[in-house]
Symmetry: C2
Subunit: 234 residues, 2 copies
């Protein structure tokens, strides 16, 4: 890893970097699997749901509303259309539960952000549904700690280049921190920025990358966001 | 209306100002009404669907995904949960049709934007689902004509103030153009900006305002976007 001395801007991913998120999808998924267990095996449900999610990304993008619609499509498919509306209403209600679930910050997040504020320009860059992300940001209580907040539909090289251009940031001064190698780390390295990977307990399989994608890639991996300050001061 | 001589920035709403949108919701709604006509009257379906949309705005925000989920909930309610999955799949498919529908620009839009480009800073400010709006903007072919594009979850005074602050625009130099008195005109007038109202053929009832809300409000109403240039040059 190149040293971090010349960093002026630190950007953070939100879901599963600042607060717990994927875990809530897995809880909803388990309720879905349990409800369909009389028809098919758990593995079939999970596989078919993932197929539907991938198929629907092009229509619905990321986020909980698309997830609810994918659960509904999967249940219809797995029951040959026989599933009744009253069961499908449950999926919508679970989705609403998830949307309204309290935002649980990951341990140490507030202290780390407070400590960095004023020393670096701080940006929050999160991917997903605009309405859902805005609601989580507001409820997190963290919004005022960031200089800029960017909610994007996809995190690729072009997304990061466009944000850096917008705020007139040189990539060599830019550090991205997140839990997804695919969305937070690789595209930032590819445009000449720096990146710190902090794996989450649960990561959606869609965010996985192959070993060859990260071979020779120059990033730091930390076990917790609380290790960030000591690494910046090294 | 105060004169428009000192305007430096012109912002445009997108749905039903630059391209046709609400009409597509009404087509989908009519298919929905027709499918449920064996159970209940058309008026009941429309009223119940609107109730569901309003109830779900707090969970899902604006946009087609929330609309699909509201259709599903309404059909479940109106059939006492008996509606079958195979019928509900139709609503999802109609939603996908609508999402992928070609973007039809309103007549004159390209000419007007081309004529204004370079003379004014141009901003597109649109409310709704991030993924859906980005897709429509990309397919419209208009993105390169705007200096900035802002996709927001709600259009109120705070939204406009925040955008003007971000781009360092004085409200008295700012003109907003749109088809919704509630979202495009009143909040801009309320922060000291100027506004031109161009009614669309079809406007969602949720965007309606009362006569008392617009009494004494100082805005221009035009019958078509093609009338914009002559008004700016007056």
């Amino acid at each position: 890893m190149k040293n971090l001395n010349n960093i002026t801007t630190i950007a953070f991913d939100a879901d599963d970097t600042l607060w717990i998120n994927e875990h809530l999808f897995r809880i909803t998924e388990q309720r879905f699997v349990d409800l369909l267990s009389e028809y098919v095996t758990d593995k079939t449900v999970i596989d078919k749901l993932y197929d539907a999610e991938l198929r629907n990304l092009q229509h619905f993008g990321y986020g909980i509303k698309g997830f609810i619609l994918s659960m509904i499509e999967t249940a219809i498919e797995l029951t040959n259309g026989e599933v009744k509306g009253c069961d499908l209403q449950k999926f919508i209600d679970w989705g609403k539960d998830q949307i309204n679930h309290p935002v649980h910050l990951i341990s140490g997040v507030e202290e780390v952000l407070n400590s960095l504020q004023g020393k670096y320009k701080l940006i929050l860059i999160t991917k997903g549904d605009l309405f859902d992300q805005e609601s989580k940001i507001a409820r997190s209580g963290l919004a005022s700690l960031f200089n800029h907040i960017e909610i994007v539909s996809e995190k690729n090289k072009e997304t990061y280049s466009s944000i850096l251009l917008k705020y007139n940031i040189n990539p060599i001064e830019f550090l991205m921190i997140g839990n997804s190698l695919k969305s937070d780390i690789l595209p930032v390295l590819n445009i000449g920025g720096k990146a710190i990977y902090i794996p989450a307990d649960t990561t959606w399989v869609h965010e996985a990358v192959s070993d060859s994608d990260i071979a020779d890639k120059n990033y730091i991996e930390l076990s917790s966001i609380t290790k960030l300050i000591p690494n910046l001061e090294m």
